[in-house]
């Protein structure tokens, strides 16, 4: 009740005021007429009434207080006053707001990362009961399950709950009137969407049993491809589209919320598996991702034990496949967060906090200078009896306004970051990484802004309150008398800024250097002259191996004949990244290991000129030739280190390998040894062996094409010719990512690139803010000590002496800060090195260069104001005293 009455008074303030005035006026009138009745003349009666009543204004003030809004009104007044004050010095205000906005903005952007990656739940129902099931082997800790394992798991589930599976793959997607495209598609068990608890936006989910052959030709589209390719038309339901050349019916469209890039959101569409008897019996091809939903009655520990037990059973029953494998579960949310959650995110948040700290100490410096400039005003007001609270209030109001403006700017910065990250990550099917600026992010921006502005805005104000009134008044407000304390405080701020800037810059420089090394450590292969692209031959039109082999032959002929092209090849993978096709091998002449524990090697299936395209060297024996085809004996190439591991010093050429599988081994002869090389993947490879086999002996429907252009030819110029050479063969065939290899590498490493750019931005921001800080301090020193310098000049000092004096003090601060910062920088480099094992981050010359840069910039920032020493006119300066 009271509250509403007060609220009414607040909003009808004008009316309440008028009513109060009217009421008191009436009172005075009554009193005056009473006095007139006593015989006073009207004028005197009025004065007498007023005398009797007392000070009208002060009584009204007291009456207003009684309504309980006094503090709020005072506060609004303070804000008005603060706004006027800030507008009167626009330079200061702008600088403070931009500093605060950038600092908080950097921090808010990083918070939006944490929010988008870790805090936001995946768009599934009852997420806490969902988990991923992995098959861990020494080669891969997060491998998938084989179809037979998955089906066995489903059969054994009992009261556990349910299991669903999916497998990613690239397929060609074509419909009449649209260019064919390579789509990122998943095959799923029919229960995937019901298990995740995702409702359809349009149409229906898969029905139980639609993952059996014959019923499986249905697809569910992602929201993204529905909008991009089918114009968001509801008429798409029931339409036939061609997936890998076979007609499929569109039955559903997923909701927009499903486009979550952390999990399944990158897929363009989903279709059911076709569990044929052969597929259902497959035990070696372990590439199904399995999602489990446990029953509410099953606890997480129980669930993990169940999965582990199922894994152990698979290992007992089929040791030749699963001897080294074990199964484990990870909660789905955890899987989505991934490894970046452990180290990279905290590091980024920490570094952005450094930027913020630099910004804050700048703000503190600015506000301190401003408060000091007004110290005389404070002293006078203090002397006139203003309480400390009354002195503090306008300062707090200013800090509050600054924080509001800074927080708003920070939200803009976070928005720009979001757009930038989305653009940087956009893939060729339009999928992108998106960090929403939601309420949580905005709340963070304003909270951080408020806390910093109040903390760093009021700290200088408290200094002001400690001022000795007498002293300030006596000294005539000149300079910062008795300000040793606050001088020291400002110096500490500057040293701290430079230390933090050093950490940021050095961290960024080390990472940039490390990434550069990674890009350029391609020992043993070349990319500058190569163009690559991915092709998927639709299973519908290229069902028989003969047809695939024929296409390969023709494509190689056409490509090799193109002008400007030196060599053309087809293969399962370029040397740029680690190869995903891992198989276990038997080596003739070595003791056969226990079944299931054979050595694993990455396999690349290549056409003869592959080695020439990428400049890989054959160091013993021969490469593959055209005659190594399906009718010829099976042949292999091995890498140098693989040869050494298998055969020691003995000559590997002529020895025999076979893929480990049931039945009699199909031996093939090693005909040559390829030099070792390193790819650009930052992940350490757990599989060290490399084996090559001829494409003609195992024709694949999915492959990379690669051509090498002649010297002096730019790889970008042949892209169109390559594309038309392929579409001449098959007009419906899409080529994905057909571009110069260096471009693909940069694109694939974009996450590291984004990280590099963010660290770089932090470094530059930190440096700029720290320079601004030291500039401000030196400029102030110059202004405060003009009188002193004038005297020095008058008694014979030279301008250069003064400049040196001023520069010296600034550079000392910068050097102290940088020296402290190097310690922190070494810490950051340690974190980087352990988060990215491929990135070397202990480059001493980079550290030295960073420190030099920092000091050079500091020198410049000091020199600009110090120059003014030459402009001091001793006579004028002294006269002004």
């Amino acid at each position: 009740m009271t509250f509403f009455r007060r609220l009414r008074h607040l909003f009808n303030r004008r009316r309440s005021e008028a009513e109060m005035a009217e009421e008191m006026r009436q009172h005075l009138e009554h009193r005056a007429s009473e006095f007139v009745g006593d015989g006073l003349p009207p004028d005197e009666a009025r004065y007498a009434a007023q005398r009797r009543f007392g000070n009208l204004a002060s009584i009204q003030e007291q009456a207003r207080e009684a309504h309980g809004w006094g503090w709020l009104e005072r506060f609004l007044k303070d804000l008005q006053f603060a706004a006027r004050q800030l507008l009167r010095s626009p330079g200061f205000s702008l600088l403070a707001i931009v500093t605060l906005g950038l600092g908080i903005g950097a921090n808010t952007s990083m918070f939006s990362l944490v929010n988008g990656i870790m805090l936001k739940p995946l768009p599934y129902a009852d997420l806490d009961r969902l988990s991923a099931v992995y098959r861990a082997t020494p080669q891969k800790s997060d491998g998938g399950l084989a179809p037979a394992d998955f089906l066995a798991l489903q059969k054994a589930r009992g009261s556990y709950g349910d299991f669903a599976a999916y497998r990613m793959g690239r397929v060609s997607l074509s419909d009449p009137g649209q260019a064919a495209q390579i789509a990122f598609a998943a095959q799923t068990s029919a229960n995937l969407f019901s298990l995740l608890g995702v409702p359809m936006h349009l149409g229906r989910a898969f029905l139980p049993g639609e993952d059996t052959p014959g019923r499986h030709r249905v697809v569910i589209l992602s929201q993204r491809i529905w909008l991009n390719r089918y114009g968001g038309s509801p008429a798409v339901i029931g339409r036939k589209i061609r997936v890998d050349g076979e007609p499929h019916e569109v039955i559903g469209v997923l909701p927009p919320s499903f486009n979550d890039w952390r999990h399944l959101g990158n897929f363009d569409f989903f279709r059911p598996f076709a569990f044929t008897p052969e597929f259902a019996a497959e035990r070696r091809q372990a590439d199904l991702s399995v999602v489990a939903r446990r029953d509410p009655s099953i606890g997480p520990a129980q669930a993990a034990a169940f999965i582990a037990e199922q894994g152990a059973r698979a290992a007992r029953e089929f040791p030749e496949i699963n001897a080294e494998a074990s199964w484990r579960t990870v909660s789905l949310q955890q899987e989505a967060v991934g490894s970046s959650g452990d180290m990279v995110l905290p590091m980024l948040v920490g570094l952005s906090a450094f930027v913020l700290l630099i910004a804050c100490s700048n703000l503190a410096n600015l506000l301190l200078a401003r408060t000091m400039a007004r110290s005389r005003e404070f002293a006078v007001r203090g002397a006139l009896g203003a309480s400390r609270l009354q002195l503090l209030r306008p300062l707090a109001a200013e800090a509050l306004l600054l924080s509001l403006a800074g927080g708003t700017l920070a939200i803009f910065v976070a928005g720009w970051f979001r757009d930038w990250a989305a653009i940087r990550s956009t893939g060729d099917n339009g999928e992108q990484v998106y960090f929403a600026v939601d309420w949580l992010v905005m709340g963070w921006a304003f909270l951080a802004s408020l806390v910093t502005a109040l903390a760093f805005g009021l700290a200088p104000a408290l200094f002001a309150l400690r001022l000795d009134l007498n002293h300030t008044l006596k000294s005539g407000g000149r300079g910062a008398p008795g300000g040793r304390g606050h001088q020291r405080f400002r110096q500490i701020l500057i040293v701290g800024q430079f230390a933090l800037a050093m950490v940021l810059l050095a961290g960024a420089a080390l990472f940039i250097r490390g990434l550069h090394d990674l890009h350029h450590r391609r020992s043993g292969w070349e990319s500058a002259q190569a163009v690559t692209g991915a092709i998927v031959l639709p299973a519908g039109t290229y069902g028989e191996t003969e047809k695939i082999a024929a296409f390969h032959r023709l494509a190689l002929e056409r490509l090799a004949a193109l002008p400007g092209i030196e060599a053309a090849a087809l293969a399962s993978a370029a040397p740029s990244f680690h190869w995903t096709d891992v198989r276990k091998f038997l080596v003739e002449g070595l003791d056969r290991p226990e079944p299931g524990r054979e050595p694993a090697a990455m396999v690349n299936t290549i056409s003869p000129r592959y080695l020439d395209v990428f400049g890989l060297r054959v160091i013993a024996g021969r490469g593959f030739l055209d005659r190594d085809d399906r009718n010829a004996p099976r042949v292999y190439l091995v890498s140098q280190s693989t040869a050494r591991a298998f055969f020691g010093a003995a000559d590997p050429v002529g020895r025999r390998l076979a893929v480990a599988r049931d039945g009699a081994p199909a031996w093939g002869e090693i005909v040559g040894v390829v030099a070792d090389f390193e790819n650009v993947d930052p992940d350490p490879n757990k599989v060290v062996h490399r084996v090559y086999q001829p494409l003609a002996q195992e024709p694949r429907r999915q492959f990379e094409l690669a051509v090498r252009v002649g010297r002096g030819v730019s790889p970008a110029t042949v892209v169109d010719a390559v594309r038309s050479a392929i579409t001449d063969l098959d007009p419906d065939l899409p080529i994905r990512r057909l571009q110069p290899l260096d471009q693909s590498i940069a694109r694939t490493l974009y996450q590291l690139g984004v990280l590099r750019d963010m660290l770089g931005a932090f470094g530059v921001l930190g440096l700029a803010l720290a320079s601004l800080g030291i500039y401000g301090v030196i400029a102030r020193t110059m202004a405060q000590r003009t009188g002193e310098f004038a005297i020095r000049l008058a008694i014979g000092a030279r301008v250069s002496d003064i400049t040196r004096l001023v520069l010296g003090s600034g550079v000392r601060l910068a050097l102290t800060g940088s020296a402290l910062g190097i310690i922190g920088a070494i810490g950051v480099s340690r974190v980087l090195a352990s988060a990215f094992p491929g990135v070397r981050a202990d480059n001493l010359s980079v550290l030295a260069a960073t420190a030099t840069l920092l000091v050079a910039v500091a020198l410049l920032a000091c020199w600009l104001p110090a120059r003014r020493a030459g402009k001091i006119n001793a006579i004028d300066a002294l006269r002004a005293e």
């Binding site: 009740m1 009271t2 009455r5 007060r6 009513e19 109060m20 009217e22 009421e23 008191m24 009436q26 009172h27 009554h30 009193r31 009797r52 009543f53 007392g54 000070n55 002060s58 009584i59 007291q62 009456a63 207003r64 207080e65 009684a66 309504h67 309980g68």
Partner: protein, 109 residues
């Protein structure tokens, strides 16, 4: 005219409540009534009357309404609320106890 006395601190609220318990009045009326009832022995400090009225209104002891007076002018009339009546009882009781104690002490000491 008898000698005028200042109000004892803390008694103004009680007196206002008491005056209003007889019926609604405007500000001037309250002043007037207090002076009349005390036979002009009490000097009501007008400077504290209005803040006190506003404070009591804020506490919900009295409510105010603008109405037309008998001589056809608008005036702000105050009247007691239920909470105000309770408050009056409380203050009166306290006052009586207090004055009895003081009287006893003054007479017997």
């Amino acid at each position: 005219m008898a000698e005028k006395s200042e109000l004892l601190p803390g008694t103004l609220d009680m007196l206002i409540l008491r005056v209003l318990s007889r019926g609604e009045l405007h500000g001037w009326g309250i002043t007037n009534r207090l002076e009349q009832l005390s036979q002009s022995a009490l000097q009501v400090d007008e400077g504290s009357l209005y803040p006190a009225l506003y404070r009591m209104e804020d506490k919900g002891w009295i409510e105010a309404e603008w109405r037309v007076t008998e001589n056809n002018r608008r005036a702000k009339y105050y009247s007691l609320t239920r909470a105000g009546r309770k408050q009056l009882e409380k203050e009166q009781e306290l006052w009586e106890r207090m004055s009895a104690i003081i009287t006893t002490v003054m007479q017997t000491a």
